[in-house]
Amino acid sequence: MAERFAVLPCNGLDKAVGPLAREIALAVVEACEGELVCPVLFNNLPARYAKALELPLIVIDGCGTRCASKLAAEHALKVVRKLQVAEALKEMGESAGETLTPDPERLALCQRLAERLLSAPEEGTTRDREAAFTEPVEYATVTRDKFIFRIPRQGYLFNENHCWVRVAGGRARVGLSDYMQQELGDLTYCELPQVGAEIGQFDAVGSVESVKAVSDIISPVSGPVVAVNPAVAETPEIINQDPYVRGWVAELELRDLESDRALLLDGEAYLTLVRQKAADYRP
């Protein structure tokens, strides 16, 4: 028999994708003899599902509102697999149809998606994550006098505090941008957060000190700290040398990336910001 899972679907009622989320959830539970978590009852009486949620959790959202994901995040549930039906259908070149009652064709699609969920690798195995976090980065550059600021073209998001986040398998690494490390100059000290600390978006997730200034590292995302990079505490200049890969500061388990993302800049938008900053840059 397949590994058993708890499955938390969205309510799935009033849009065509909603009933599909429910059908997929039922198919997964049936196939793995898992436990179904009723989202509204869970919201009202979480203790009711304490036993069921000892199983690894799959979250299934119908639409982009992502009610089930939000619920899981609010209750700090660890999600091992996720499906957003509207996105999955788009990737498959399929549609949810027009009605709230799925036709046989849509039910077959649900079955396929359920099978795909059950056979998917767990989100973010350690080896996959490490590989994703250390993939080579292609940079855009902004030049100002003798200074060259690098900005990753893809795979990174930024806040306006010049801190970056790189996401892989339900986790994220955060650090300082190249612009920030050059503005600070040679770093002499890096304070890391405690593993287990709960970090909100835009909370300090550590600090750095240079010959010029002390600065907080403002986290672009929310979640608990699951790992820190001792190398940068021991040798802070790693951040000066390689801010985007070896110079990561902390690794967080993502709570609600979709919400966090709304307040972040992609590489292109951050490039524009750095261009503006570089125009006024006074080292």
């Binding site: 309510n11 009622l13 179904l36 509204v40 919201n43 009605t99």
Partner: protein
């Protein structure tokens, strides 16, 4: 929400995932809004309300609501009430079984014939209430 709630009665079933009574609440809702009173009723996703979606909260506060709950935990009734909704009628699927003692409604994934019969009765009951709330006019 499925469509604009303007002028329509909101029929709101519990989430009802994983239990046959919940499935009956959902199917009875679909019967009303799709077949029996499509012009006078619509539905609303209870999870949206629970998560505080402003549009959903506004809808339950301004339109008459009929809640349908599968089990006695009354998730729909309680959450609509908590959101300040105008509950015109609260329907419990389990009550419908009083007239169908020993009925085998089916499973959480599929209704049996007796389940559909009871679901249809609940749908008719709700549709009648929808008509009353709309001033007794046939829609």
């Amino acid at each position: 929400m499925a469509e604009s709630v303007n002028g329509k009665v909101l029929v709101i079933p519990c989430s009802g995932v994983g239990k046959v009574h919940g499935l009956m609440a959902r199917e009875a809702t679909y019967r009303v809004i799709d077949e029996l009173e499509p012009g006078a009723s619509t539905t609303l996703c209870l999870a949206l309300l629970v998560k505080g979606d402003e549009e959903a909260v506004e809808a339950v506060r301004t339109r008459p609501c009929i809640t349908i709950d599968g089990c006695p935990k009354l998730c729909s009734y309680k959450n609509v009430q908590l959101a300040g909704g105008k509950i015109a009628e609260s329907v419990r699927v389990v009550d419908a079984f009083k007239d169908h003692k020993g009925a085998k409604p089916g499973t959480a994934t599929e209704l049996a014939e007796e389940g559909w019969t009871i679901t249809d009765e609940i749908g008719q009951q709700i549709a009648a209430r929808v008509r009353e709330l709309c001033g007794g006019e046939e829609q």
